[in-house]
């Protein structure tokens, strides 16, 4: 068999097929990109032409670049964030969805009308309830609807607007008309992703973006910000606005962090806020700071564990009382989740006619409400042609078919049915070619003085099948940027200029106590991890050598330290001599990888990552990458432990360096560094105390091991060039304020930090923290090491032991003082009087 290549007959090369083939797109759905004849619609031509001018490999690279940029901006979950293996919410796919100016104008007018109508309904439902009394809204919509919050009835929001932020999911039916599938009032999601998509896409297709007249998003954010300030009569400089998020466990936390950065509203969680005298405050290091407006990204029901559901985590106890007292403007007002009620759209056409005298411009997806007998009969007679779902609460599992009849008989008003949605298809880049995807458009509007402003753009949500695209799992959906085309030249309006004008709001000067607490612990865990890694490295290095265990005199000392740190189990009481090799390596492996024990390397690394995740919006992207790199640790159980430890130490140092370098020298940096210093001082003190007996015996091995795990061996050699002696070693590790590993160095750093912490009132008086650091620093400076020789009666070592012991206690007391003074996170407990009653005797 010969392998010589035989050129085949030369076929004429087919003309390069167009990327965009109408034939690939099912005909039953409206095709966004093609007209009825299958030619690209006019407004698509710039997009299709631009893409077709690029080689497919290059397009693949661009899509990869899109993915990478999204990831680097933090819009994806890393495996650590995501133990359950969820995917990325709304992964960005690069082909934009252009909408012509004329079509958008209709959407815009329709949305404004709808938002105003919904707001009037909200104002009525939470006010006089005339719609209910006149029968325009069935009683079930109020009385059997969990989205109606009794506690909020009668409240007029501070800004006198009942709906201030609104989103809707639109789809284009087979006739090409836009219809509303869902309305969102309580806390619409997706705005941040739309913003991020635009930032990424305008860079990846910068030429196309700038050559096409595409309406900019930035003005919308400016409008949102200015309207809020104006409505709530806030100061223009330094308005007390915060963005309330459920925290990193939210699957769209990225969006909260991005909007917070972009709008310049500090990102807070429920426990950062407190209500006093009917007013909301942000708990900061320097004390309480008034909050005048809250942009909330938490659900209605979770907003106030006091007034609403007591199991609600993440809310602020008393928030509704402050809302009731008009002491805080909330976007959206609590209770606006009424707008999300799935069955409400069925009543909008009639409500619109009655309330405004106009016809509803944007139609809703049709449906039948089982609370009405004729409609229920229709639904039951045609089960195959529609999907039955909840009518009141959007969330909650759809009932199984066999339960359905019973459930519907008991409470028919809780169900509705809708015909299948037939959304339009859009071209999407998928594995090297253009394929059809179904698309919904999530569009946003905010209240303005005149009514509502619609964001010219939005989030196109896409999926390969209708069930996914209309589902509620962003991780299974992808997204596109919506390009609203303009007839006129667009003003060059950089997205980033928005960032510059309002961002960095009061950062640096002060920060929420919770953030300071996480930073302090991040510093402590980092140092703890580094210390343990160093210690284990010393051990593995010795075990890798030629010597038998009995020939390593410092082994006992090193193991004692590990035991003191609970990294390995205590030595058995009857142990004589060194442990067996096999047993020892098992224990050391466990100290590396055992997840269940709290003091192992893998467990501490996990805590480092958790602490970092909680302050994610304050870490640079580079630092964040280093943190993600730690994920690899647990996967390396079979490799060489020494190599792994070296690698981990390197990553930890990289992270510390990057995190510290990229932080301004404000309070955040101080708290993180204080955590590190406290931990290192404690560690250094303990290392000497645990080894006091072998150290005082001037065991060469122990002295060398101490220098090694203290990371000071190079300094010692450079300075003394002599054999290892106790006194100079103690001088270097305890007293030498120029050695960054010494106790004295940590204490002098701490004392510099505490001077800069916020304090109430007069600067002339020392704070308790200042007194404590001064005491410790003085004690170290006064420690007399001259002629310290342990063999002379041991009295000195006793006093050294006492010194070390006292120092550890003082350090712990100092850490507690900082926590109590600045970081106090007191647990709150609900209480309820039970009604027992008494039966008559």
């Amino acid at each position: 068999m010969n392998d010589i290549h035989q050129p085949g007959p030369i076929r004429p090369r087919p003309a390069p097929a167009s990327l965009f083939n109408a034939a690939d797109f099912p005909e039953h759905a409206f095709r966004e990109a093609f007209d009825a004849g299958g030619s690209p619609r006019g407004h698509w031509q710039p997009v299709t032409a631009a893409l077709e001018a690029i080689a497919p490999e290059e397009l693949n690279q661009r899509q990869e670049r899109v993915r990478r940029m999204r990831h680097e901006d933090g819009a994806t979950f890393n495996p650590f964030d995501d133990p359950s293996g969820r995917g990325t919410p709304w992964a960005l796919e690069m082909i934009p969805l252009p909408i012509p100016a004329g079509e958008w104008a209709e959407v815009e007018t329709g949305l404004v009308q709808r938002a105003l109508l919904l707001e009037r309904i909200l104002a009525d439902v939470y006010g006089p309830q005339n719609l209910l009394k006149e029968g325009l809204l069935p009683a079930e919509l109020v009385y059997a609807n969990p989205n109606f919050l009794h506690a909020c009835h009668g409240i007029v929001p501070a800004g006198k607007r009942f709906l201030t932020y609104y989103a809707a999911d639109l789809y284009r039916g087979s006739d090409g008309r836009f219809q509303v599938l869902r309305d969102y009032g309580a806390n619409p999601a997706g705005l941040g992703y739309a913003l991020e998509n635009r930032i990424v896409l305008s860079r990846v297709f910068s030429e196309l973006y700038h050559q096409t007249q595409i309406r900019r998003l930035a003005p919308f954010f400016q409008t949102l910000h200015r309207s809020l300030i104006q409505r709530a009569s806030l100061r223009h400089q330094d308005p007390g606005i915060v963005l309330l998020s459920p925290g990193p466990e939210s699957r769209i936390y990225f969006e909260h962090a991005l909007l917070s950065r972009y709008l310049g509203y500090p990102l807070v969680e429920g426990e950062d806020l407190t209500v006093r005298n009917g007013q909301v405050f942000l708990k900061k290091l320097a004390g309480l700071e008034p909050v005048e407006a809250i942009v909330r990204h938490i659900a209605d029901g979770a907003s106030d564990p006091f007034a609403l559901r007591r199991e609600a985590a993440g809310g602020v106890a008393g928030l509704i009382q402050a809302f009731r007292e008009q002491r805080v403007e909330i976007v959206n007002p609590i209770g606006s989740g009424f707008v999300d009620t799935p069955v409400l759209p069925l009543f909008l056409p009639e409500l619109c006619r009655r309330l405004t005298g106009e016809a509803l411009r944007l139609e809703s997806h049709p449906g039948w409400w089982c609370g009405r007998e004729d409609e229920r009969r229709h639904v039951l007679a045609n089960p195959g042609q529609m999907r039955i779902g909840p009518a009141m609460a959007r969330t909650g599992a759809a009932p199984q078919l066999h339960d359905l009849t019973a459930a519907m008989a008991a409470a028919p008003h809780l169900f509705m049915a809708r015909p299948p949605v037939a959304p339009a298809t859009v071209p999407a880049w998928d594995q090297g070619r253009v394929r059809p995807r179904y698309a919904l458009l999530r569009v946003f509007a905010c209240a303005t003085e005149q009514g509502f402003a619609v964001m010219p753009g939005g989030l196109a949500i896409t999926a390969a099948d209708v069930a996914t695209v209309t589902g509620e799992t962003p991780e299974l959906q992808r997204s596109k940027d919506i390009w609203v085309l303009s007839d006129q030249p667009v003003e060059p309006f950089s997205l980033m200029s928005g960032l510059r004008t309002v961002a960095e709001f009061r950062r640096g000067s002060d920060l929420p106590s919770r953030v300071a607490d996480h930073l302090l612990w991040l510093g402590r865990y980092l140092e703890r991890a580094e210390g343990l890694v160093r210690l284990l490295r010393s051990l593995f290095r010795r075990l890798a050598g030629e010597a038998g265990l009995a020939d390593i005199p410092e082994l006992a000392y090193l193991l004692d330290i590990l035991r003191a740190e609970n990294a390995i189990p205590p030595a058995p009481a009857d142990a004589a001599g060194p442990p067996r090799y096999r047993e020892l390596t098992t224990q050391l492996k466990a100290a590396l990888f055992q997840k269940e024990r709290p003091e192992t390397v893998v467990a501490i690394l996990k805590r480092v990552q958790e602490a970092a995740r909680n302050v994610r919006d304050r870490l640079s992207l580079d630092a964040w990458r280093a943190i993600n790199h730690l994920d690899g640790f647990a996967d390396n159980q079979t490799g060489d432990p020494l190599e792994l430890l070296n690698d981990t130490l390197f990553t930890l140092s990289a992270f510390s360096g990057l995190a510290m370098e990229s932080m301004t020298r404000g309070l955040g940096w101080r708290f993180m560094d204080m955590g590190r210093r406290v931990e290192r001082a404690l560690n250094q003190t303990a290392l000497i105390r645990i080894g006091l007996i072998p150290l005082c015996a001037e065991s060469r091995g122990a002295l060398e091991a101490l220098l090694e795990v203290s990371d000071s061996i190079m300094t010692y050699r450079a300075r003394y060039r002599t054999s290892f002696q106790l006194a100079p070693i103690l001088d270097l590790l305890l007293l030498d304020e120029s050695n960054p590993k010494s106790l004295a160095f940590q204490l002098s750093q701490l004392s510099a930090h505490v001077e800069h912490l916020p304090r109430p009132g007069d600067r002339r008086f020392a704070t308790p923290e200042e007194r404590m650091t001064l005491e410790m620093l003085t004690a170290v400076r006064l420690l007399d090491l001259t002629g310290l020789r342990c063999d002379e009666g041991g009295e000195k070592s006793t006093s050294l032991a006492a010194f070390l012991h006292t120092m550890e206690n003082r350090l712990k007391a100092f850490a507690q003082q900082i926590t109590a003074h600045y970081l106090s996170r007191v647990l709150s407990t609900p209480h309820f009087s039970a009604i027992r009653g008494t039966p008559e005797p």
Binding site: K133, H150, F832, G837, P841
Partner: protein
């Protein structure tokens, strides 16, 4: 009857509590059969913030916050009320099916108003189990009140009063399985049963003057918060029934507030920051005023 009520709730904390927020439904409502002559609320330590409002159901609610560190919090509500016996309900009430239909059609304002007590609420689920339990008391055509009284009697006989069996969160299905609870549970169960038939039933929070056993003096502080239900009877109004004692609520029942369930009218609920271990003491005294007040 004229009653003086003193209801004291005291929390003692092992560690100082830094912030305490509470909502109270402890001021009696004015009703057709109840006049409120005096109503006072005393709180120590003095709260920095006190807010009073009428809630969605027309009850009087107080919200207060104590914002300085405190080891103890005491709330005492004292009131003087004059109760009169309710009008006797009509001897024959409409069949329950008719009532359910009228509530479903809700052609008249009182029916629309009553309609808010027809549906499930956060603490009162309306399950098939509740309907099955209710059914024997409501054969077809049963007058609605007769059915409710029969149901009340069955709950009284078939359920055991047991202070240890339930918590404030016990659900109706659990009650039906265990067959024991306290007055709040019996009220929730009765409400769930009525609502499962499409009837309107609300939860009433208040007090009952207890009668000492014959020949014994009444013990001070022996009274307690009480709860019962009210059933809507078209063209008449609400009829109060006490399933814990199997009797129509009368002159000796003092009404504080009503709502869809316990959650709407919890007499004392709150959140406290810090405070360590809490101890709670509740003391309720309902005293009949026998001497008439001198006219001024």
């Amino acid at each position: 009857m004229r009653y003086r009520i003193a209801h004291t709730t005291a929390y003692r904390y092992s560690e100082p509590a830094s912030l305490s927020q509470n909502e109270l439904f402890l001021s009696p409502r004015i009703t057709a059969t109840q006049e409120v002559l005096q109503s006072r609320l005393a709180i120590t330590p003095e709260p920095q913030y006190l807010h009073r409002r009428t809630d969605y159901f027309g009850n009087l609610a107080h919200v207060f916050m104590v914002q300085q560190p405190h080891h103890e919090l005491t709330m005492t509500a004292t009131s003087l009320v004059q109760t009169t016996p309710p009008d006797p309900p009509p001897g024959i009430t409409p069949p329950w099916e008719t009532v359910a239909q009228r509530l479903a059609r809700r052609e008249h304002p009182p029916e629309l108003e009553a309609c808010q007590f027809v549906f499930a609420s956060p603490l009162v689920t309306v399950s098939a189990g509740a309907r099955a339990y209710a059914q024997p008391s409501f054969p077809p055509g049963t007058p609605v009140l007769a059915g409710a009284v029969a149901l009340m009697g069955r709950i009284f006989r078939e359920f055991k009063y047991d202070k240890t069996a339930t918590t404030v969160d016990t659900c109706v299905d659990q009650l039906l399985a265990d067959r024991k609870g306290v007055c709040q549970d019996f009220a929730h169960l009765a409400i769930s049963c009525m609502r499962s038939l499409g009837l309107a039933a609300r939860y009433v929070s208040g007090y009952l003057e207890t009668q000492p056993p014959p020949g014994k003096a009444k013990l001070i502080g022996a009274d307690a918060s009480h709860a019962w239900i009210a059933l809507y009877v078209p063209d008449f109004g609400w009829v109060d029934l006490d399933p814990t004692n199997n009797l129509p609520a009368g002159e000796r029942h003092i009404t504080l507030a009503w709502g869809r369930d316990y959650g709407d009218v919890t007499p004392v609920k709150g959140v406290v920051m810090g405070g360590g271990v809490h101890t709670l003491t509740v003391r309720v005294d309902v005293t009949a005023e026998t001497t008439r007040l001198d006219p001024l």
